[in-house]
């Protein structure tokens, strides 16, 4: 039993790291622009489908690099055309817009790639367990963790040490002041949105290696990301990371005792956090009020 619990804690951390990756992109956009991007799952699915289409031409590794970039490019177009007019307005408008976009993305992928699941294959050597004892540690899952670590490290490095990152952080605190200091906040928001969507695209390619690739891949993964943000706390990327890991472990541990509740538990956690500490574990008070 102890071994089973330990296995599930480790496994939960792996799953949680993936939730965290998706949630970080969402959190980035929410923090700076106040946009609750329900279409994040749609971008994730798009990243996965683009990778599927590109693999015969440039291989898995090429697709892993190119597909998220293409997704981010589309994200920039969507931001410029649809989202930008809604900045500064009631968050409800952008929520409704992105909610609609999520459906449009799902149906578009159904139209282009078909309703049926597609066989997304990753290099064979990645999909074998590393040891028969710890069979849940497959090459692919460790690879995912590595990518998540690099992406999170890279994101924190950009935010911490680059001019763009400093502006994003400053804008997250007070965008008006940043604007009066002469920073082009339109460009800042665009780049920030593109960065968030890049992460969604990357998460999409990784997810397709683990799950079936079908039009609903995004919508089935989006809710845990929102929960990760709420549990971790709005306004804190570190909180989002922590939130993702926590719900992954909680879901894994619940599966040992009551698998039917392994999804419900993350919402229970969200409810408890909202009751006991409405700002989330590391969140700032008063965000999005």
């Amino acid at each position: 039993m102890t071994q089973l619990l330990l296995f599930n804690v480790f496994n939960g951390l792996i799953v949680g790291a993936f939730y965290a990756l998706m949630a970080l992109g969402l959190s980035l956009i929410l923090n700076l622009s106040g946009i609750i991007n329900f279409a994040h799952g749609g971008f994730l699915a798009l990243g996965a489908y683009l990778a599927y289409t590109l693999i015969p031409w440039i291989g898995f590794w090429g697709a892993l690099i190119v597909a998220p970039l293409l997704t981010a490019a589309l994200g920039l177009v969507v931001e410029r055309v649809l989202i930008r007019p809604l900045y500064g307005g009631d968050p409800l408008y952008s929520l409704l817009l992105t909610f609609g976009l999520a459906y449009i993305f799902e149906d578009l992928s159904r139209l282009v790639w078909g309703a049926q699941g597609l066989p997304f294959a990753v290099p064979r050597w990645l999909t074998t367990p590393l040891s028969s004892q710890f069979f849940f540690l497959t090459g692919y899952r460790l690879f995912m963790i590595a990518i998540v670590a690099v992406a999170v490290g890279g994101l924190f490095a950009i935010l911490g040490y680059t001019r763009l990152g400093m502006r994003i952080r400053a804008g997250t605190r007070d965008l008006d002041t940043v604007a009066t200091l002469g920073v082009n906040t339109r460009l800042l928001r665009s780049l920030n949105f593109g960065l968030g969507i890049y992460i969604a695209g990357l998460a999409g390619v990784l997810a397709a290696g683990l799950l079936g690739l079908s039009p609903t891949i995004g919508s089935s993964l989006i809710m845990p990301s929102f929960v990760a943000i709420i549990v971790g706390g709005l306004g804190s990327l570190l909180g989002t990371l922590l939130g993702g890991l926590l719900i992954g472990v909680a879901s894994g541990l619940t599966a040992v005792f009551l698998p039917a509740a392994q999804e419900a538990i993350i919402y229970v956690m969200m409810g408890l956090v909202l009751l006991a500490r409405p700002r989330g574990l590391l969140g700032e008070e008063g965000r999005l009020h």
Binding site: L4, Q116, G117, S132, L210, G212, S214, T216, G252, A260
Partner: protein
Amino acid sequence: MCASFVTRRAVVKGGLAAAAAQFPRPFVVTARAADTVKIGLDNPLTGTYAAPGKNELIGCQLALDEINAKGGVLGRMAELISEDSTSGDAGTAVQKARKLIDGDHVDFLLGNVNSALSLAMAQVSNEKGILHIVPGGHTDAVTGASCHWNVFRVCNMTQMEANAVAASLVKEYGKNFYYITPDYAFGHTLEDGMVRAIKALGGTRVGGDLTPLGSTDFSAVLIKAQAANPDVIVFLTQGEDMINALKQAVQFGLQDRIHLAGAQQELEPLEGLPPEARIGTWVMEWYWNQPGVPHVDAFVDAIKKRTGRVPTARNWFGYVSGWTCALAAAKANSLKAVDMAKALQDFHLPPEIALGPNPAFYRAGQNQLMATLFVGNAQAKGEADDDLFKVTKTVAGADAAGTVEDSGCKMTWPA
């Protein structure tokens, strides 16, 4: 100076209005005319079951084209009206069923892929007295405890699938079984059926887990399943859940230690799996590669012309459902639901519709189609493209179904 009568805003508004006007319409309408015989298909076109729902629609459209080419239903052209029931919202499915019956005045109601939605729709069709064919909702109750005189089912009862595969599993792989079961009507009855069938052969259930419908991560339950050390892990998940579960099990290398199997398998998920994950012992409810069985090749060609792929069982379910409407009307020489339902009791489908090695008939007193079950193993690649299943045994539906009494169906007819 450059006066413009149409502003950009007006064009945009007009475009949006035109786009919006598309939505309330039925998804597909063919051969519309005033005196047509109308068949309403209320099946998922979005969500988890979009793929099987669409494939049933394609099969049904083929049937209607053939029916109309042969003179229609009682001399009138047949028209298909298709609505998206959603994959899991019973409220929408019921509302669409009422719309088809009360608004479009359909003569037949078809649907649903989802067992729970099939049951909900059956209540409506029974209340309205409309002949209702369930192409692919498997839970036993549809033609069991909740059977109705007007509701006929093409796909199998879950118990039939369990009975068909159980003997092969116990004989070849061992007696200890672990179940991964989707947590809704279909999964529950399928697991009950499997446990019953395997127990009768001396096998035991060493453990099992219910997983929420639409689960993405199966790693935690797979870790549990492996720890229980069974001979066979039985996957009762369907559609995308099946793809996710099998893909992850194979990445864990479980197939090297434990036999992976299940009851119902379909071509759609096998096509969605990478080759190395196309493994395990299963039951197919219809399979396209049936050497020597007459008329199958013609059906395969007809579907290939429409989709570019070989037909799946879902295509066949839709095809049989469409044809059942025409055949029932022809035999009863009436469009009255009671007359047609009576005409369908023990009605044998002609071989060009049955498309299997055994006779296919609607068993009287239960309205359940008895066709053929195909037991075998999934394979990475077969003789032809899309030949992803190796049939090792065929079982006549009637041999796997038990008796009408076993099913729990107590049919009452309108006075």
